[in-house]
């Protein structure tokens, strides 16, 4: 069956081999084109996001469009500097020599994007791939069809389509693409498909970046500022695509005595943000599809869980909306405590001592992000040292992603590799080591016939032991 994707990697490779994508000018022209798309088509982009996700315009602008604009501007500003070779020091052992590390493109890159931030998570990796001088193919997610179609149209209009292609489609198209040989693949999505991508890449020895997810925990202790904590949790949870975000707070851990205060504060702030009827608020995204709606409501309808709802719980199947919901002490073996929720349900687990939360978090897979709200300095150190996650924020949620000097990526089940800012440029580059040697001072000890005198010399040379070298040279 001809899907129209056969041989596309080879086509891109031929264009890459003709060296067009290597020049600074080409990269800048493409980055400027992406910037133009983000700035001139704001309305169209926001409409697509509203259509796919019922995403509020402010969220669409704050998280997606602004993210792309910032990335484009930063890259345009810094690209020349990033492209420069990096000189490195050399030591006595290779004297005389000079060395540098040169960034070169990998060749042909495949970006497989996802549906929850379909504009940002498609374009930002493409920015990195282009900045590094690669040809690139983007496959947006079919679960967000309006954005996928918008991307195909706008990139087709503005970009150099011989080197920057968009292929729309689903599982069949993705499988056909994964059979081809790429020089790097960046996949954003879930760990099940992540395994499939990695296995396909293994056949061609293709390096991969996997941006996956996980259950991102939030620990809240009683020394914290409750109002600000609640607002930042709400903002990171329901203010981010109704919790359908890989770095959204998934669940909260707090002490038994503090829990009710926290629940009350969240309830009160929720009302300030979304009013008395959040289910019908225009400022909240819907669940992306009926399939995911069923998945999320199933977590809630579990009999171990349904009795523990303390806020919300309402849902509207026709509009695919679920109200912001908080559950208190769902059992540890319930589904909601074992799968990434990716929705507007927030379980709060209570512990006796706040430190017990560390063990609970570590009993699960390493998440993409972890969060702590506290004023206790010692607890901050314990948390940083004992919790491993892609990234971490103290007294904040999700904002670490907006900082271009911090890498964005996972560890363990939450993924491998990272990007954002210069990390994007590096992710799609090969760092080639270049060593230049002179002819002076050729060391006989390197060459046969081997003698014990040569052995002494080599020992001294490799240790950087100058006196030893002199002694050996004189045969002492």
């Amino acid at each position: 069956m001809a899907l129209g994707v056969e041989g596309v990697a080879d086509d891109l490779r031929a264009v890459y081999a003709a060296e067009k994508t290597r020049s600074y000018e080409w990269r800048v022209s493409q980055l400027k084109a992406l910037l133009k798309i983000a700035t001139h088509h704001e309305k169209e982009i926001l409409e697509a996001l509203r259509s796919d996700l019922n995403k509020p315009e402010h969220e669409g602008f704050l998280h997606e469009i602004s993210g792309v604009i910032s990335a484009c501007k930063l890259t345009l500003k810094e690209l020349r500097r990033w492209m420069k070779p990096e000189k490195v020091k050399t030591s006595m052992t290779t004297y005389p020599s000079s060395a540098e590390i040169i960034s070169e493109p990998l060749g042909v890159v495949l970006v497989i994007s996802t549906w929850n931030y379909p504009f940002l998570l498609s374009v930002e990796p493409v920015i990195g791939a282009i900045a590094a001088g690669n040809a690139v193919l983007l496959k947006p997610s079919e679960v967000s069809p309006a954005t996928s179609s918008m991307l195909s149209k706008l990139l087709g209009q503005y970009m150099d389509v011989s080197a920057v292609k968009v292929v729309e489609g689903g599982v069949l198209e993705t499988t056909a693409l994964l059979e081809q040989r790429w020089d790097k693949i960046l996949y954003t999505g879930n760990s099940k498909v992540g395994r499939v991508v990695l296995a396909a890449a293994a056949k061609h020895l293709t390096p991969v970046i996997l941006e996956l997810g996980g259950k991102c925990p939030v620990m809240v202790d009683s020394t914290t500022n409750l109002t600000v904590t609640s607002r930042r949790i709400i903002s990171g949870k329901w203010g981010c695509n109704s919790g359908q975000t890989c770095v959204s707070p998934d669940y909260i851990i707090t002490t038994k005595e503090y829990a009710s205060k926290l629940v009350d504060a969240i309830s009160s702030e929720l009302e300030k943000f979304y009013g008395k009827d959040p289910l019908h608020s225009n400022d909240l995204s819907k669940i992306v599809s009926s399939q995911h709606f069923d998945r999320v409501t199933k977590l809630l309808d579990d009999e171990k869980v349904s009795g523990k709802i303390v806020i919300g719980g309402q849902r509207d199947e026709t509009s695919l909306k679920i109200a912001p919901t908080v559950i208190l002490d769902a059992p540890n073996d319930s589904l909601i405590m074992n799968e990434e929720i990716f929705g507007p349900l927030l379980p709060i687990i209570t512990v006796n001592k706040i430190e017990d939360g560390i063990g609970l978090i570590n009993s699960k897979e390493k998440p993409l992000a972890s969060y702590l709200f506290t004023n206790d300095k010692k607890l901050k150190e314990i948390f940083k040292r004992n919790i491993s996650s892609g990234s971490m924020a103290i007294n904040e949620t999700t904002l670490q992603l907006a900082i271009s000097t911090l890498p964005f990526g996972g560890v363990g089940e939450s993924g491998m590799g990272s990007y954002h800012g210069k990390f994007s440029f590096d992710a799609f580059s090969h760092k080639k080591a270049v060593l230049e040697r002179g002819f002076a001072g050729d060391i006989a000890a390197r060459y046969p016939p081997y003698t014990s005198g040569k052995l002494k010399f080599l020992k001294a040379l490799l240790s950087g032991d100058i006196l030893g070298i002199i002694r050996a040279l004189f045969g002492w």
């Binding site: 081999a17 402010h58 602008f61 602004s66 910032s70 490195v88 050399t90 030591s91 290779t94 020599s97 060395a99 590390i101 990998l106 060749g107 760990s191 992540g194 395994r195 296995a199 293994a202 020895l205 390096p207 996956l212 607002r231 709400i234 203010g239 400022d283 570590n362 901050k380 491993s388 990234s391 924020a393 103290i394 904002l399 670490q400 900082i403 000097t405 911090l406 890498p407 964005f408 363990g412 993924g415 590799g417 090969h430 080639k432 080591a433 270049v434 060593l435 230049e436 040697r437 002819f439 050729d442 000890a445 390197r446 060459y447 046969p448 081997y450 052995l455 080599l458 490799l462 240790s463």
Partner: protein, 488 residues
Amino acid sequence: MEGLEFGGASSRLIVLKKSFRSGKTRGIGWRKSQLRALLKLIAENESQIFDALEQDLGKHPVEAYRDEIGVVKKSADHALLHIKEWMAPKRGKLPLLFFPSRAQLLPEPLGTVLIFGSWNFPISLTLDPLIGAISAGNTVVVKPSELAPTCSSLLYRMIPLYLDTEAITIVEGGSDVAEQLLLHQWDKIFFTGSPRVGRMVMSAAAKHLTPVVLELGGKCPVILDSFTGSDLKVVVKRIAGGKWGPCAGQACIGVDYLLVQQKLAPLLIESLKRCIKRFYGDNVKNLQSFCRIVNKHHFDRVCNLLEEPGVAASIVYGGSVDKENLVIEPTILLDPPLDAQIMTEEIFGPLLPIITLDNIEDSIDFINDKPKPLVIYAFTNNEKFKEQIVQETSSGSVTFNDTMIQFICDSLPFGGVGQSGFGRYHGKFSFDTFSHEKAVLHRSFFPELEPRYPPWNDFKLEFIRLAYNLDYIGLLLLLLGLRKVTPR
């Protein structure tokens, strides 16, 4: 040789994971103690290591020191010197908008890692990655190659005597043991070997989402521009030293083939012949300072490369073998058929094909027609040509006017690209490869930026727009009510 059933590997792993969780490998004290113990191991067992390398590969002690013991010592010393600064958190820059926040990059160990050693440098290619894993604070399982059995056995006996057995385990065995190990989940796998096995390792790792480093190989070419006089002598020595010096050509960064301008070939060949005789002698039964082929399988493989039609006829020096002792003498071929296996596969043996070209610049296209190698060597004084080589070819690394030596330069990353692998190590790159760099943002509770939160309105949108542009003046005007807000 220890066989390892599923249960055996599982119980070892449990111990290692428990050790890691206990936090014992996190402190700089533990890491330094292990690095010092490793230095002690090689210092106190030097002659035994020399013997083992002689047994497994016929490696001369000078070569063994230069390529194996010396490398391990250098890496451990380097790590001890720098580990404190490597472990220190790095500060991330933050825009003013985020004041007063703090951003850090915290390196942390990945957990429990698996290292597969290789047979050609059975000591250094096993212990050098181990140094990286230890410096980064991980617990480790090491599996040396069974194709160098004396070295494997020596490491198996020595490592538990010097290193912390609750954190570092050594496992012996062949592909069946490797398969058992690959059934488990690791936090990283470091593999040195062939692309074929590399694919299998990565496929197995995919099931557990385990990140891997693959140090593979390729056909590492030498581009030889014109040289005269004393420089030519040095060039020839370095080429010979880079081909037959490391393990008789059985090295991932060893010279595979050579490209030279047609008219220079005769002089080159004569010079190489003289050099070979001086370095190694010319009696295949009595070659000095020269390794043998590791086993019969590889011996036959390399001999077979000479059997193809047209290849044997292109031999201009050497070609003799000592079947009993698995020795193939240094051999030079002039323009063998380009579609013969000797020119399409990594040779990994002491055969040096010399390919002649009309212009030396044609070497770039020649190299680009083949998969990206681990290293490209080029001997030239032409600055423009150097620039062209760097820009127009791709390889793990490029070395000008020498061979092999980039391996001991700790400030340069060592790794491949494309079919020669991915990931890198040496120096700080070893530490980084076995670490996770965790991004940490510290915020305070004040000031609070109201416009972050719903309910949304036009004022908040304008604020966010200005904030993203880092337009502080605009923000100030907006907050003072001196800036107009355009309704949507």
